[in-house]
Amino acid sequence: MMTHTAYVLASYGIATITVCALVLWVWTDGRARRRELRALESAGIRRRSAQAGDVP
């Protein structure tokens, strides 16, 4: 039989893990996409709108 405090700690623990996982996923996803964009740009590939001299 768990004590009430254990249920509270389990709730906050799972909430912390879920929120941290979500933040980490969004952050690493953003870093990976930025890296890919940089790699493509350094290979000389530009978006059509950027080639036309439109907003970068």
């Binding site: 768990m2 405090t5 249920y7 909430a15 879920t18 996803d29 953003g30 978006r47 907003v55």
Partner: protein, 253 residues
């Protein structure tokens, strides 16, 4: 220029993904800072206010459970608005918004289900019952997972956008069912005690941490949503640039 047309121009300016990226870069640090600050205050209040005379310490689970449950529904409502944006106004960022929101909504729904279960065991004596509220929230969780799977399964982004927009709008029928399930049916889950006719039925001692945590969770949602939308725009740019590179390589060969 009239105020109305200025407002329309501002809105259509946002439709430009490049302008959205610039705006996201400006607001994200502020949003993230405010989220951390609100969580610091919210968590402090959550653990320093008194326990309930009946629920004891477990009332503290409510400070996570209730905001997560609110957010699970708000996130779906944001997706439904985005779906309208895709189908009616063909707003270029609408599909990006819907797609970026699904995993965040699924996480909040998961949190609402798990923390609800952890409160239910000591208070109701059971982890789970198939009453109308719990079942309809579980269906919402499955819908989020289904929409995420659908988005991943379809290669053509334009087609995926239309199909998932229709599905999101059909699934929106579940939101009022979740909200009013506790009034329409006899559920083990209690009826609304904060947003209800006649005002909140909660003591200010519990209402303060609850509201601060609710605002903190809402800010967390907007911060993550804007960041995830930015990631989705970048992902689409990478795909189109790779396609363009492949096309020009094909011409040269």
């Amino acid at each position: 220029m009239s105020e109305n047309s200025l407002a329309i121009r501002k809105f259509s300016d946002l439709a430009n993904p490049t302008r959205f990226l610039a705006l996201a870069a400006r607001v994200l640090p502020w949003f993230a800072g405010l989220t951390v600050l609100l969580f610091a205050v919210g968590l402090y209040l959550s653990f320093t206010t008194e326990g309930d005379y009946q629920q004891g310490e477990t009332v503290r689970i409510m400070y996570v459970h209730v905001p997560a449950a609110w957010l699970s529904m708000m996130c779906y409502s944001v997706m439904a608005l985005s779906a309208l944006g895709t189908l009616v106004w063909r707003h270029p960022l609408a599909d990006v918004a819907a797609r970026a929101a699904a995993p965040i909504g699924a996480s909040f729904t998961f949190l609402a289900l798990v923390t609800g279960s952890l409160w239910g065991k000591p208070m109701w004596g059971t982890w789970w019952v198939w009453d109308a509220r719990l079942t309809s929230v579980f269906v919402l969780f499955l819908m989020y997972l289904g929409l995420m799977a659908l988005n991943r399964a379809m290669d053509e982004p334009g087609k995926a956008a239309k199909v998932s927009a229709v599905l999101i709008l059909v699934g929106f029928v579940n939101i009022p069912i979740i909200k009013f399930s506790v009034e329409w049916w006899n559920t083990l889950h209690q009826p609304a005690s904060v947003l209800r006719l006649g005002g909140s039925a909660i003591d200010p001692e519990f209402l303060r941490p609850l509201l601060v945590m609710a605002v903190a969770f809402t800010m967390l949602f907007f911060t993550l949503h804007i960041a995830a939308m930015r990631n989705e725009i970048w992902r689409r740019r990478v795909t189109s640039m790779r396609r363009q590179a492949a096309r020009s390589a094909g011409r040269e060969a």
